[in-house]
Amino acid sequence: MSAAATPPPGGVPGRTPPAPTSTAAAPAHPQRALWPDDKAKKRERIVDVLWELQQQRGFLDDEAIRIAGRECDLTPHEVDEVATFYNLLLRKPAGRIPIFVCDSISCELNGAAALMASLARVLGIAPGEVTADGRFGLLPIVCLGHCDKAPCLLAGERVLGPCATDDDDVRNLVKEIGDAAGAARGTR
């Protein structure tokens, strides 16, 4: 998204050295930490920690939130503020292999709705559901940044596209996604 324009902070920037300051002319704001302390460094890792827990557990259950809190020195509440915020962090089961189908503009113009409908038929589930064997989940997601490959989806660590949208092609695609996920697990 657009970064808002940044006007100069406090007057015209230049190379003029600062006027000598006395203790009376202390800065308006208290001196901030010169370097992130250990607590800040731990906190910075929270999304990585949650992501790893999700890879191990399939989704972020309450226990995962507590574990992440201990690891990053945060309260469960602070962790949940982060865990509930991101599109890729899942607080509910979404299958061992969640399939995220992009439904933003460039994909929609190139058949994203048909792709989602076909995946739903092939998997026998509606978006938001998980197959009976717990293997696949089906979810919409916003723009994946692969608009030149529309319609596309994210499965595992791969963005796949452009995807054909008739059921036979989608059946092959689902098989390929399943095989690749199995292979990835085997190499771990």
Partner: protein, 433 residues
Amino acid sequence: MPPVLLAARADAGHAATLASYRDAGGYRALDTALRQRTPEELIQQVKDSGLRGRGGAGFPSGAKWGFMLAPEGRDGGGRYLVCNADEMEPGTFKDRVILEQNPHVLIEGMAIASYAMSMTDAFIFVRREYFEQTRRLEAALAEARDAKLLGANILGTEFSLDIHVHRSGGRYICGEETALLNAFEGRRANPRAKPPYPAVSGLWGRPTTVHNVETLACVPGVVEHGAAWFKGLAKNPEGAGTKLYGGSGAVEHPQLIERPIGTTLRELLGEMGGVKGGRKLLGVIPGGASTAFITPEHLDTPMDFDPLVKVGTRLGTGTFIVLSENDCPVKATLNLQRFFARESCGFCTPCRDGLPYGVDLLARLERGEAQREDLDRIDHLFQIIGPNSFCALAAGAAEPVKGLYAHFRDILEAHVTGRGCPFGREPAELAHA
């Protein structure tokens, strides 16, 4: 035109290696910067080059660098450069291609920028969906460290810097620079109040500059060939540099190409094979979801910041989305508004509640359930939510609606009088109901 950003791009499937990047002249600019230029000279050079931020706002980069000359932040503490690689604007895929094909140009640009602004550390904030791109970036960073282009005493000088990668969890608002800083720190990514601006109080409360990937990737060219050369790359007199232009939607061959900034949409679309299936062009969203529609009459407008403002829209990210005669602009706008409503962080009420209301009104219009007064209601809603919300997300959401009302009044009317979408296609509701 000499390719600037993607000069060393690999043929297929791989990123340019350090060796191939160097063969194309890479890292000469860093050497020049560190050995022959003072930080002040570099900042002046970037000012003179006319480089403007490529993330969407078009803020002059040299001015942004100049803020970091302020003496207040020079107290021996951390000063940070943050590269915004959280590319999530619908229709936008340009930064992805830099990471995929030429990550060293970003690394070199970040090293030069960090030297010029006396940064102590630099960070790349990348969306997690870019798994493969992050792998390539990390590989390039490792190559650069091994070659002493990063780390302590770079190229034998007194300048030291490392670049760290922060992987996010995927959320559009993280592209807003202060929301990004909160996300980075491990907090819920609501935007922060400005002022203080990041140059005064950014990452961990320290002086920080946030730049888009493409902006930083322009820096080595400016330093190696000079400000005049960079300005001269543009096709239009007020422009500067090259631009990564992407085309998607109803485009015959969707792709990303680097061309002089100010190239017209007619030329760019022509290079991409024209409108998909040889259909007629209805409209174009020129630079990602938060820019207003333009129509075929604007095809010869230079795709640059100022010329596009003159025709009522913005360059944005320069990655355009094409609608053909078969694509309903109301349906397209509804899609964009669903995006903005979902991605609103929920912090302020006009955005959190206003955008879903807009989605509801547009959906009714598309389904044929809207009354005539709903047309005014939609127009009014999107005029008030932007100025009354906390950050720029809702103002961005209002842009395509503004274009819809400016150029497609007849189609809006037809949705009311014809009791639904005149484009004769089923509204695809499945995924969004």
